[in-house]
């Protein structure tokens, strides 16, 4: 251990200052959204855009939350997102494993074809997907959202998982095979646990995609029992006048679970990374 020189300390200080400034830039929106959710239009549009509210209008929250069906919407959002994550993670890990680790002729081609899912502009897919869902008699059920969300999230999942699976040494597969492990056991009991950070990352990204999706959620669902939170928030915007305060409150309510889930998953990533960096 040698003593740090003065310039080194100086460099460190500058580094931390930069990190902290960026952190403030990233945290500011949360503070802003919180104050925004307690204001009225006059304050929001120019009267007082970043200060603390002059009057704390907690009524915005009661307006947003008592607005009939927020509970149902929230529950639907949670179910839809949870199912989407489950299916996406399962399908992506299995497919990535098959395409990257197993030996078959079309594995590379399959990878390229599956990626096309990420490239479709969602609005162009609205009508075709609507018709497919209608023919499966799923319109107005949460399945009409879970299935397309999963379909559109799988390519992303495959990409993320392949980026990390690449780093897991192939010798593992070989030694497992030599030990007489079946391919299914190899995947489920050896590879899958090692993919934990990848799975958590994939879950976070899938969550974001489906939790905030609006266009399909609006178009495929016309029954309150199956609507999601984004649609509920959207319906608070008016044709000729919009009260933004309650919308801010609703957005706050929609954002909190996202943050909580992210912090949970992210510490999971951290733990699994510390616990078992793969011995190569």
């Amino acid at each position: 251990m040698k003593k740090k020189s003065i310039p080194a300390y100086f460099g460190k200080a500058i580094l931390y200052i930069c990190l902290i400034i960026w952190a403030i830039l990233c945290l500011f929106p949360i503070y802003w959204l919180f104050t925004f959710s307690l204001k009225n239009n006059t304050e929001i549009f120019g009267g007082n855009i970043v200060g603390l509210p002059q009057v704390y209008r907690w009524s915005n929250y009661s307006n947003a939350l008592l607005n009939g069906k927020v509970g149902i919407y929230l529950l639907n959002s949670i179910i839809v997102t949870a199912m989407t994550i489950l299916f996406t993670v399962l399908a992506s890990t299995m497919a990535t494993f098959a395409m990257q680790r197993m030996r078959w002729k079309l594995s590379k081609v399959a990878m390229s074809i599956l990626l096309v899912g990420m490239m479709i502009p969602i609005h162009a897919a609205l009508l075709p997907v609507f018709v497919v869902m209608r023919n499966l008699k799923l319109i107005n059920t949460i399945w009409s959202l879970i299935i397309p969300y999963t379909g559109f999230a799988i390519p992303m999942g495959i990409m993320i998982i392949s980026g990390i699976l690449d780093g897991i040494p192939r010798e593992l597969d070989e030694s497992a095979c030599i030990d007489g492990c079946s391919i299914y056991r190899l995947f489920f009991s050896i590879i899958l646990p090692l993919l934990r950070p990848a799975i958590a990352t994939c879950a976070i990204f899938t969550f974001l995609q489906s939790w905030n999706e609006l266009m399909m959620a609006v178009t495929f669902i016309s029954k309150d029992e199956a609507k999601t939170l984004t649609v509920g928030i959207q319906s608070m915007a008016g044709q000729y006048l919009t009260e933004w305060g309650p919308i801010g409150a609703a957005l706050m309510v929609a954002t909190i679970p996202t943050l909580l889930l992210y912090f949970m998953l992210s510490s999971q990533v951290q733990k699994s990374l510390v616990a078992g960096a793969v011995k190569g």
Binding site: L19, L115, C177, F205
Partner: protein, 294 residues
């Protein structure tokens, strides 16, 4: 060994779920969009087959400024690849290098990604507002009132003004991907490099970046596709305005299909966007193949 890894039944088993979803949700829209794009069709009633006329209309004798929107999305792409990704990579390397408060910073930097487009859009409108916006207020307070103007309403600044929020929002997104990849590297490799007396910069370029090339490739592909398809924030902030200064292919496509009733022509735009994405993804992969061979 080979026998186990080329077990046909197992391959089918592992591929099946993804393939099923693909058939149901992805294949149809692609085929349909391609079919629609060969029609003169308003989205209702009957369409007439016109071959590749719609594609021609995108560039030859174009009236809706589609080429301009493509150019704008290319600028987006360049900004993402050369500004956003390097920043994300730098942050990922710094954070994984064991600064104090690593977890805190990593969590905080991801916060903008978690917020929905509506929130980010509203926030930036408050920043850009010509009268009471934070940006103009700041400029006036340091005596640069002459610089203050309507950022989103000025044809010269609208495009850049929509870039910045998007770049800022997704920096944390790419950072997290790269961070996870760096953290998956076996620490012994870093130890070995340190013992050889390599300094931090050297380790970053000689060890870290080569080791995370696969994830860097993923990140770049996301970024490329994201830029070519960019829609949400542009829609909220300017909807392509003023006078199409910040138009991107997706905003134009949505208006063409749902407001302009030109479903066939709009589908040609969709197919064009898909083709662009395929092409660029292919290029990125080729580049990385070459890099990994070195």
């Amino acid at each position: 060994m080979n026998k186990v890894l080329s077990n046909k039944k197992a391959i089918v088993f592992f591929m099946l779920p993804a393939v099923l979803f693909f058939l149901l949700v992805i294949l149809m829209p692609v085929l349909m969009s391609f079919y629609y794009s060969t029609l003169n069709w308003d989205g209702m009633g009957s369409g007439t087959f016109i071959g590749f006329q719609n594609y021609k209309k995108l560039f030859v004798g174009n009236v809706d400024n589609f080429p301009l929107s493509v150019r704008n999305s290319f600028l987006f792409l360049l900004a993402s690849v050369f500004i956003q990704i390097p920043i994300s990579l730098l942050l990922a390397i710094i954070l994984s290098n064991g600064v104090k408060g690593e977890n805190f910073f990593r969590n905080v930097y991801f916060v903008p990604v978690v917020l929905s487009t509506v929130v980010i859009g509203q926030l930036w409108m408050k920043i850009y507002h010509p009268d009471y916006g934070l940006l103009n207020t700041f400029l006036r307070s340091i005596g640069l009132s002459s610089w203050a103007h309507g950022w989103l309403g000025d044809q010269n600044t609208a495009l850049i003004a929509t870039f910045i929020p998007t770049l800022w929002q997704y920096t944390g997104y790419h950072m997290l991907l790269l961070y996870a990849a760096i953290k998956s590297i076996n620490p012994e490799i870093f130890e070995a490099a340190k013992i050889d007396g390599a300094n931090r910069t050297k380790i970053a370029f000689r060890v870290t970046i080569p080791m995370i090339l696969p994830m860097l490739e993923v990140s770049l592909i996301f970024s490329v596709i994201g830029s070519l398809k960019v829609f949400d924030l542009v829609y909220v902030l300017t909807n392509g305005g003023p006078a199409q200064a910040s138009e991107v292919p997706s905003t134009l496509m949505v208006r063409t299909i749902f407001m302009g009733y030109q479903y066939g022509y709009g589908s040609a735009m969709a197919v064009f966007i898909i083709a662009e994405c395929v092409l660029f993804t292919f290029v990125v992969r080729k580049i990385f193949r070459a890099l990994q061979r070195d």
